[in-house]
C-alpha cells in the first residue's frame, strides 16, 4: 500500500505538502448513472410483485428472475467500484522536494511519474466553466525547464492555492539546489535560442 509518510523512492528529509485527487464532484455523473442502473433490478422486482404475481408464483421464471437480477446487480456494483477505483487511485502528491503523479488506467495500467521541485519554471491554475467556478476546482499545469515536460493536475480542488503553494515550495527547493537549477535553466535557454535561430533561418 502507498504510505504518504514513506513514499516510493523517498528523498531524505522530504515531507508531504499536498495529497490531491480530482474533486469528488467529478465522480457525480458516474455515480448517479450507476445508481440508476443498480435500482433497475429492484424496480423490476417491485413491478413484478405488483402487476405480475403469477410470474413469481412459478418456480422456473422466479429462479431466472432472481439469478438474472442478482447477476445484473452484482456486475453493476463491481463496475461502479472499478469506476471509483479509477478515481481514487489517480493521485498527485506534492512534497517539499518533488511532485509525484500517479495515474491508474483500469485494473492493470499504472503510470507513476516524478518531477523535482527545483526544475519547475511555471505553474498555471485553470478554472473553466460554471461548475468549476462554483465548486472551485480546475487544472494545475506545471511547466519545467525541459522542452516538452509538463505535469497536469486534473480537476483538483482549490487550484489557485495549490499553484501558489507549489511555486513557493519550488522556490525553497531551488535555493537548496541552486547550481543544478541554474545549469538546467541555462540549457533550456540554449535550446530555446537554438530553436529561434532555426526558425529565423527557415
Amino acid at each position: 500500500m502507498l504510505d504518504t509518510h514513506h513514499l516510493p523512492n523517498e528523498i531524505p528529509g522530504e515531507k508531504p505538502v499536498f495529497f490531491l485527487r480530482r474533486h469528488p464532484i467529478t465522480m457525480m455523473g458516474t455515480v448517479l448513472g450507476y445508481i440508476a442502473i443498480l435500482l433497475l433490478p429492484i424496480a423490476i422486482y417491485f413491478y413484478l410483485t405488483t402487476f405480475q404475481l403469477v410470474l413469481l408464483s412459478e418456480p422456473g421464471p422466479l429462479l431466472l428472475i432472481v439469478l438474472g437480477g442478482s447477476t445484473f446487480f452484482l456486475f453493476a456494483w463491481l463496475f461502479l467500484f472499478q469506476g471509483f477505483l479509477d478515481y481514487y487511485l489517480d493521485t498527485w502528491i506534492v512534497t517539499t522536494r518533488r511532485v509525484l503523479n500517479i495515474e491508474q488506467n483500469g485494473l492493470f495500467g499504472r503510470v507513476v511519474s516524478e518531477l523535482r521541485l527545483y526544475r519547475i519554471q511555471d505553474v498555471t491554475a485553470m478554472v473553466n466553466g460554471f461548475w468549476n467556478t462554483m465548486f472551485d476546482f480546475g487544472n494545475v499545469e506545471i511547466q519545467t525547464a525541459a522542452e516538452h515536460e509538463r505535469f497536469m493536475f486534473e480537476e483538483v480542488p482549490h487550484p489557485n492555492q495549490i499553484s501558489k503553494a507549489i511555486l513557493e515550495a519550488a522556490e525553497l527547493d531551488r535555493r537548496d539546489h541552486l547550481n543544478t537549477a541554474v545549469e538546467e535553466f541555462a540549457m533550456a535557454d540554449k535550446r530555446a535560442d537554438k530553436k529561434a535561430d532555426e526558425g529565423t533561418k527557415k
Partner: protein, 82 residues
C-alpha cells in the same frame, strides 16, 4: 424442458468469473491504495454488499426444489403472443 439445476450451474460459472474479477479489483485497491481509513472502508462496503446479495440469493436457492424442470420456449411463446 430443461432441469433448473442447469440454470444454477450456469449462474455458478458466472459467479466464479465474477469473484475472480472482484479479487483482482480488491487486490488492485489493496496494493496501490493509500494506507488510509477511506481505502479500507470503501473496500469493506464493496465486499459487504456483495456478501449480502450472495447470502440473500443463497437463502432463496436453498428453498428451491431442484428436481423441477423449466419449459423455456412456451413461456417465451406466450409472452410474445397477442
Amino acid at each position: 424442458m430443461i432441469p433448473i439445476i442447469w440454470i444454477l450451474i450456469a449462474w455458478a460459472i458466472i459467479m466464479v468469473i465474477y469473484l475472480l474479477m472482484t479479487l483482482l479489483t480488491v487486490n488492485t485497491m489493496m496494493r496501490f491504495g493509500v494506507a488510509r481509513p477511506g481505502t479500507y472502508l470503501s473496500t469493506a462496503i464493496f465486499l459487504g454488499v456483495i456478501a449480502i446479495v450472495l447470502i440473500l440469493v443463497g437463502a432463496f436457492l436453498i428453498s428451491m426444489d431442484w428436481s423441477q424442470s423449466i419449459d423455456v420456449l412456451p413461456s417465451f411463446g406466450s409472452a410474445i403472443s397477442f
